[in-house]
């Protein structure tokens, strides 16, 4: 964008004591950060986690090394903020693992019985699927939940997920495998054979 300073110029200004210059980074990355956060946390908590992400980024700015783009660095901070959100939730027992209701099981049976693409896509848009998905994810630990969301639901590579979460590649592989197995056994327990 013409007239707008690049990331590094803004970062240098901020590091030289001009905290107001951070506003440019906020303008530039508000939408991508909100999008990423919305993919991981409940809708009513997106603002809080996105806020936390930018405050963390500001605090960690002296440690930023321009060997990787600022956008990627910020994405990593946002991902870790989401992980911390779930850790906090689990610690306060606000994400209880519970069983699927009979309505949920019936809904899944109908969804799996649908043959046409249109019917299937219309089912996928219904909030019941999101509720079931959230129920499934609640069965996992905060880190396994993040790993499964990134590698399975978003189809990110193992390497990318590992970098964003700050864990090793074998760790992502093990967690992904374990989370998928848990997901299958949860669905099987509720009579959904494909799980």
């Amino acid at each position: 964008m013409p007239g707008t300073p690049d990331d590094m110029t803004i970062i240098t200004k901020v590091l030289n004591g001009d905290a107001d210059a951070f506003r440019h980074l906020l303008d530039r990355y508000e939408a991508p950060v909100a999008r990423l956060v919305a993919a991981h946390v409940p809708g009513n908590c997106v603002a809080e986690v996105a806020h936390d992400t930018f405050i963390r980024a500001y605090r960690s700015l002296p440690g930023y090394k321009p060997v990787r783009p600022f956008c990627n660095w910020l994405t990593t901070i946002a991902t870790r903020s989401c992980h911390d959100f779930w850790r906090d939730r689990y610690r306060r027992r606000e994400a209880p693992a519970s069983d699927m209701s009979e309505d949920g099981q019936r809904f899944m049976e109908i969804a799996l019985a649908s043959d046409s693409v249109e019917a299937f896509e219309s089912i996928a848009r219904q909030h019941e699927v999101r509720e079931i998905l959230s129920l499934v994810l609640n069965q996992l630990s905060p880190l396994d939940r993040m790993v499964l969301t990134m590698t399975y639901l978003e189809e990110r590579s193992v390497k990318e997920s590992a970098e964003m979460l700050g864990i090793s590649i074998p760790n992502v592989k093990v967690r992904s495998f374990r989370a998928k197995r848990k997901l299958r056994s949860f669905l099987k327990r509720h009579g959904i054979q494909g799980g």
């Binding site: 004591g17 905290a19 107001d20 951070f22 506003r23 906020l26 303008d27 508000e30 909100a34 999008r35 919305a38 993919a39 809708g43 997106v46 603002a47 996105a50 806020h51 930018f54 405050i55 500001y58 605090r59 899944m108 969804a111 799996l112 299937f120 896509e121 089912i123 996928a124 848009r125 699927v129 999101r130 998905l133 499934v136 969301t149 399975y152 639901l153 978003e154 189809e155 669905l187 959904i192 054979q193 494909g194 799980g195």
Partner: protein
């Protein structure tokens, strides 16, 4: 059949995840973040001021302590002698008392 269902579940969950509506952040959100940034900035400024002044404070406190110790040593230079005298006198009195009671 099982594999087909597994694929369907996978597609269903992926579609549900992709259909999550991105939330519009409230209009006041940006100013709240900037307020947080400026609060953090102020806190780090005062912390860095403190860090800058800390060696000076340490030097001043050490100098003051040394002066107090010297003055105290000078004023109370006779205290150990006085204490020793009082202690000896007390012991002497006690010895006389015990002899008298024998």
């Amino acid at each position: 059949m099982k594999r087909n269902e597994e694929r369907k579940i996978s597609r269903l969950f992926k579609a549900a995840h992709a259909n999550r509506q991105p939330q519009d952040l409230p209009s006041s959100w940006r100013s709240t973040v900037m307020a947080g940034i400026s609060h953090t900035h102020m806190a780090s400024q005062s912390a860095s001021d403190f860090e800058r002044l800390a060696p000076g404070f340490t030097l001043a406190a050490t100098t003051l302590s040394v002066i107090v110790l010297i003055v105290a040593g000078f004023s109370l230079s006779e205290l150990p002698g006085e204490l020793m005298l009082a202690y000896t006198a007390q012991n002497f009195d006690m010895t006389l008392f015990s002899w008298a009671n024998m």
